[in-house]
């Protein structure tokens, strides 16, 4: 019965808009074989895309109640979290989703790097992927301000100040981003516009091209660029499996597991909404979000201009990677220099991010209280003999 109905619908549509062309095209693409070496790490790109969709859905729900004004933004987010039915879930899914999306996009980039997926003839795929990374970071940066709490306000202040240190155009960049000299109502509306209108369309456009390029050139093989790539028939003979259902199912499993872990984080470690933004009260230890922490920390060790130019050059080098790394080998084991450099770069970023995380904090290690300065170096300040965190006796208030 259902089959008869769907057949009738198919023929009805095909007579009018030749839907069979689209269906045949999709079928060919879905059954196209993928190389045997596709393991679970090759699912990270799809996980990122799944999170983009989740962000779009939760974002639409949040927009129903969110008010992009310095006076009411914070209250509207609090209202969403505390009064709207399932508002807490939507806000947490959106906040955690942003972090997961960026994390998996970075993991996806790392995977592509180590598997040499950026090499000829996939330079354009890499460039569009790099643009997607930039847009995703811009999503994170603009969305971070929207709750208008102390952390987001001062985190954005620090972030925009970094941009202001760019030689020549820094000051204009700062004014363009902030809409004035300080973070204000004007900044909030700009960031909101970029976050919900500009960036989503740019992202959709870029992701469409990225996906088309991936399907057009196929998944990168492990053989070097000097070996002719296999045709679909050769891939099939060499043990390649169809993209659907084998690989799609693998990706679906990873997406579901990651979603389950996000829900676990949401219910046990919900991301809090801090105090409302107060431009006159700078909290101690202001720092940007984790994905900007390593570059933020690196800038502390270098003179401002050199740091900014250096960071810019590193970003440019990553962007243009396929054009200066023209060695034919793709397997990580056959590229010891690139692999070592890649590992060193990742370790360096993790160390810098950790230093950024502990800088301007205090910690008790082996009975000694340490203060970590802005560079992350520890200074012993006291020997702790008893627990420091006793409840206050209530006399701290001012009356």
């Amino acid at each position: 019965m259902i089959r008869r109905l769907s057949n009738a619908l198919y023929h009805w549509l095909d007579d009018r808009v030749e839907i069979s062309i689209v269906i045949d095209f999709c079928h060919r693409q879905l059954t196209k074989p993928v190389p045997r070496h596709l393991n679970w790490l090759f699912s990270f790109g799809t996980v990122t895309l799944a999170f983009f969709l989740s962000q779009a859905v939760s974002g639409v729900f949040l927009m129903i109640y969110y008010e992009a004004s310095a006076d009411t933004a914070y209250e509207s987010v609090r209202y969403i979290m505390e009064q709207v039915r399932f508002g807490w879930l939507m806000r947490q899914v959106h906040s955690y989703g942003a972090n997961f999306m960026i994390a998996f996009l970075l993991l996806h980039s790392v995977r592509v790097f180590f598997y040499g997926g950026y090499k000829k003839p996939r330079e354009l795929t890499w460039l569009f992927g790099f643009a997607l990374l930039c847009v995703t970071l811009a999503f994170g940066f603009t969305g971070y301000l929207l709750p208008w709490d102390q952390l987001s306000y001062w985190g954005t202040t620090v972030g925009t100040e970094i941009a202001a240190a760019t030689p020549v155009i820094g000051e204009y960049l700062l004014i363009l981003m902030r809409g004035g000299e300080i973070i204000s109502d004007v900044t909030l509306t700009r960031f909101f516009m970029a976050h919900v209108v500009l960036l989503p369309w740019v992202f959709i456009g870029l992701v469409a091209v990225h996906l088309v390029l991936i399907r057009y050139k196929g998944i990168s093989p492990l053989e070097g660029t000097d070996v002719p790539e296999k045709t679909p028939e050769e891939l099939k003979k060499a043990g390649g499996k169809p993209f659907y259902p084998q690989h799609v199912m693998k990706e679906a499993i990873v997406v579901l597991l990651v979603l389950a872990s996000m829900i676990f984080m949401i219910i046990y470690y919900p991301l809090p909404l801090h105090e409302k933004a107060d431009p006159f009260n700078t909290p101690v230890g202001v720092r940007p979000e984790w994905y900007f922490l390593s570059s933020y920390q690196a800038l502390k060790y270098l003179p401002k201009t050199i740091g900014i130019i250096g960071s810019g050059l590193v970003v440019l080098a990553i962007c243009l990677l396929p054009f200066w790394d023209r060695t034919p080998a793709r397997r990580p084991s056959r590229r010891p220099v690139a692999t070592s450099l890649g590992i060193m770069f990742i370790v360096l970023n993790i160390v810098l991010a950790l230093l950024g995380k502990i800088s301007e904090t205090e910690m008790t290690i082996m009975g000694t209280r340490y203060h970590f300065d802005i560079y992350g170096w520890p200074h012993a300040i006291a020997t702790v003999e008893e627990p420091a965190a006793e409840p206050d006796t209530g006399d701290g208030g001012t009356e």
């Binding site: 693409q29 807490w88 057009y216 389950a260 209530g394 208030g397």
Partner: protein
């Protein structure tokens, strides 16, 4: 050869030139839009950062070799006063905006190196008025001795919220008081305020899950205010006991609110586990289905 067709699009020189011309036009338009964005920037944005003054006391004293002069800066930076913007000049006077020593230490601007111990409570009382009003007629303030004064219990630069450990410091209390009295005092303070602190901690934890806790916080604040106004700094056990007894009548009601909010958090967790279970089952089913697929 890829199956994704792109036949039919072979831009020749003419097409390329047209595309270039359009790109140039769009670039020009983008530049105009960017310029307009800059022009639209409101001219009179207030600069909040300008309101944050530079404190020269801190910048100069932090670098002094004499530890007696530099240590207070580090201590103050760890204090409860720093986040509240209470700085050196609020107790020592002087001009914190001048880099010139004589101007910074100008006696005409009420500079005092070491505040008189007999007026310390008045200095602190400018903000902590209720505590001062309770302290002055208390046994500690009676007869104009003012000993111990505020800084004996709360420190001078590293001003901290008083803690049970401070109350029992031998140098501070046990010169005059027997240990038994001290134990009673600490127990009474704990009875009065520990539940309030616990309610506040629970409320902050629950709030992060998105459950409203304004009522709990308001009730906890009322209880805390009642303690501060009627018991804190009175230093008479009978008076304190009466206040704490009356507060203990209120605490079960606040606890009930906390329990209700916690139940809501638990409900949400169960709801979350339902989703986690659903996702895991789905993943398991797909995995089994995938394994059952034929090799080719």
């Amino acid at each position: 050869m890829s199956e994704l067709t792109h036949a039919g699009y072979r831009p020749g020189a003419g097409a390329w030139n047209a595309l270039s011309a359009r790109t140039a036009e769009y670039t020009a338009r983008s530049a105009v839009i960017l310029l307009l964005l800059l022009v639209w920037t409101p001219a009179g944005s207030a600069t909040a950062q300008q309101a944050v003054t530079t404190n020269t006391c801190v910048s100069c004293h932090a670098d002094l070799d004499d530890e007696d002069m530099s240590l207070p800066v580090a201590e103050w930076q760890r204090s409860a006063h720093r986040p509240a913007d209470i700085a050196c000049q609020d107790c020592h006077g002087g001009n914190p905006a001048s880099m010139v020593e004589d101007e910074a230490h100008d006696v005409e601007r009420d500079f005092v190196g070491l505040p008189d111990p007999y007026v310390v409570h008045e200095l602190c009382g400018e903000c902590h008025q209720v505590q001062m009003e309770n302290y002055v007629p208390s046994p500690h303030g009676l007869e104009g001795d003012f000993w111990p004064n505020c800084v004996d219990c709360h420190e001078n630069h590293e001003v901290v919220f008083p803690r049970a450990s401070l109350i029992s410091i031998p140098d501070n209390c046990e010169d005059c008081h027997e240990q038994e009295i001290m134990d009673d005092f600490i127990a009474l303070t704990d009875r009065g305020l520990e539940p309030v602190n616990e309610f506040r901690r629970a409320a902050e934890e629950i709030r992060s899950a998105g459950v409203p806790v304004d009522l709990i916080l308001a009730q906890a604040s009322l209880a805390r205010d009642a303690y501060i106004q009627q018991a804190s700094h009175v230093f008479v056990l009978d008076k304190m006991t009466a206040v704490v007894d009356s507060l203990e009548q209120v605490y079960p009601r606040i606890q009930k609110e906390v329990n209700t909010a916690r139940t809501e958090v638990d409900t949400r967790r169960r709801f979350g586990w339902m989703f986690i279970g659903l996702f895991l089952v789905l993943a398991g089913v797909i995995w089994l289905y995938r394994r059952a697929l034929p090799e080719d």
